[in-house]
C-alpha cells in the first residue's frame, strides 16, 4: 500500500522535475538574454518562487486553478466548486517551484563554460543552433549535474507537501494508514524510510551521471 503510494511520489517528482527543467531552461535563457523584458520576468520568477514558502505556492496553484476552473464552468452553466485533478496540479506546482531553482543551476553552468568554446565553434563555421546543440549543451549538462542532483533531492522532499491538496502519494497514504490503524509512529517511520531509500537510490543515479558526463576530464 505504501509502496504503491511511493510510486505516485516518484511519478510526481520525476514529471515535476522534468517540467521544472523546461521552466528552468526558459528562465535561465531569459536571464542570459540581452534585452530587459525577458531578463526582468525571469528574475522575478526566480526570486518569488525561491523566496516564498513552497506550501504557499502550492495553495496558489491549487486554489487559484480551481477558482479559475469553477468560474469557467459557471459560464457553461455548472453549479458549485470544481476541483482540479490533483496529480496534474501537483506536477505543475512542483515544475514551477523546481524550475525556479533549476534556472539558477543552468545559468551558473552556462557561465562556467569557457568563452573560447564559442569562438572555436564560430571558427568551425557552426550555426548558432549547431553551436548550442553540439558544443554548449553537452558541457552545460556536465557543469549542471551536481546542482541538478541537489534540486532533485529538494523536489523529492517537496513532493510530500503535495499531500495537502489531497493527492494520495506517500505522505498522504501514510496519514490515511496512521488514521485508520491508530499507529501513526509506525506509518510515519515507514514513510520516512521509503523517502530515505528513494533519496539514496536516486543519488546513486546522479553520481553515475556525473561520472559519465565528466569522463575524459582530468580530475584534480
Amino acid at each position: 500500500m505504501l509502496l504503491e503510494a511511493a510510486g505516485v511520489t516518484l511519478l510526481l517528482s520525476v514529471l515535476g522535475f522534468f517540467l521544472g527543467a523546461v521552466f528552468g531552461g526558459l528562465a535561465a535563457a531569459g536571464r542570459l538574454y540581452s534585452s530587459k523584458v525577458p531578463r526582468g520576468l525571469a528574475s522575478v520568477y526566480g526570486t518569488v518562487f525561491r523566496g516564498v514558502p513552497d506550501l504557499l505556492s502550492i495553495y496558489l496553484f491549487y486554489y487559484g486553478g480551481s477558482i479559475a476552473l469553477t468560474s469557467i464552468a459557471r459560464l457553461f452553466g455548472s453549479q458549485g466548486f470544481v476541483g482540479l485533478p490533483t496529480l496534474a496540479t501537483g506536477i505543475l506546482t512542483i515544475g514551477f517551484i523546481s524550475g525556479a531553482y533549476q534556472s539558477e543551476v543552468y545559468r551558473g553552468a552556462y557561465l562556467a563554460i569557457d568563452k573560447g568554446q564559442f569562438d572555436a565553434a564560430k571558427a568551425l563555421a557552426l550555426t548558432r543552433l549547431q553551436t548550442l546543440r553540439l558544443v554548449i549543451v553537452p558541457q552545460l549538462l556536465r557543469h549542471a549535474i551536481p546542482g541538478l542532483g541537489n534540486v532533485w533531492q529538494l523536489v523529492l522532499k517537496d513532493s510530500a507537501l503535495i499531500s495537502v491538496i489531497g493527492l494520495v502519494e506517500l505522505m498522504r497514504q501514510a496519514q490515511i494508514g496512521a488514521g485508520s490503524t491508530r499507529e501513526p509512529f509506525l506509518f510515519y517511520c515507514a514513510a520516512a524510510a521509503l523517502y530515505f531509500a528513494i533519496a539514496g537510490l536516486t543519488d546513486l543515479v546522479f553520481n553515475r551521471a556525473e561520472a559519465n558526463a565528466s569522463r575524459g576530464i582530468a580530475h584534480r
Binding site: P53, D54, Y59, G200
Partner: protein, 229 residues
Amino acid sequence: MIDPGFFLEIIPKLLAGLPLTLELAGTSVLLGFGLALVLALAQQGERTYAVLPIRIFVAIFRGTPLLVQIFLIYYGLGQFRPALQSVGLWWLFREPYWCAIIALTLNTGAYGSEILRGAIRNVPRGLSEAALALGLNRFRTMRLVVLPLALRQALPAYSNEIILMVKGTSLASIITLTEVTGIAQELISQTYRAIEVFIAAGAIYLILNFLIVRGLTLLEARLTPYRQR
C-alpha cells in the same frame, strides 16, 4: 480586477501571523545553531562511537521531508502518551508549538552541522599546527583559532539555511499553528481570491528574507573588513 481595498483588508490579518512565524524561525535557528555546533565539534574527535550516531542522525534528517519529521514528532510520538506522561514530557509533545520547534530545530541542526563541519575542515591546517606550536591545547586552538575563522567562512551558507528555516515554518500551519501561511490558506478558502492573498503573503516572506540576507551580508562585511575595497 486587482482591488487595493482588499489588500488593505488582508495585509493586517496576515501580519498578525508574523510574530509566530518569527518566533518559530528565531527559536529553531538559535537552538539549531547550538545543536549544529555541538554535532560538528563532536565529530572532530573522529571516534566512531561519537561520529557514527551523528552521521546517522544527520543522514536521516537531511534525507527525509520536513513534513514527515513534523508529523512523526507530533502525531507519531503522541502514540506513546502514557510513556511520555510517566517521564513528565507529555506537556512538550502535546503542544503543536513545541513539536514544530523540536522538528525545525533537529532539521536545521542536521543541515547546519554539515555546514559547520565543512567550514572547520576548510580552515588551513597550518593555522592549527601553528597554534599547537605556540603551546595552545586542542580546546583553545579550536576556540581561539579554528572556530572564529570557520564561523566566518560558514556565514554565507548558513544564511541560506536560515532562509530555508523561515520557509520551513510554513509547515507548522499543517499542525494547526496559524502563522502567515496558515492565515493565507484560511483567507483563500474564505474569499476565493488566491492570487491577491498569494501576492500579499508572498511579499511578507520576500521582505522578511530580504532583510535577513541584508543583515547577514552586513555582518559578513563587518567580520571580514580586509575583504572590503
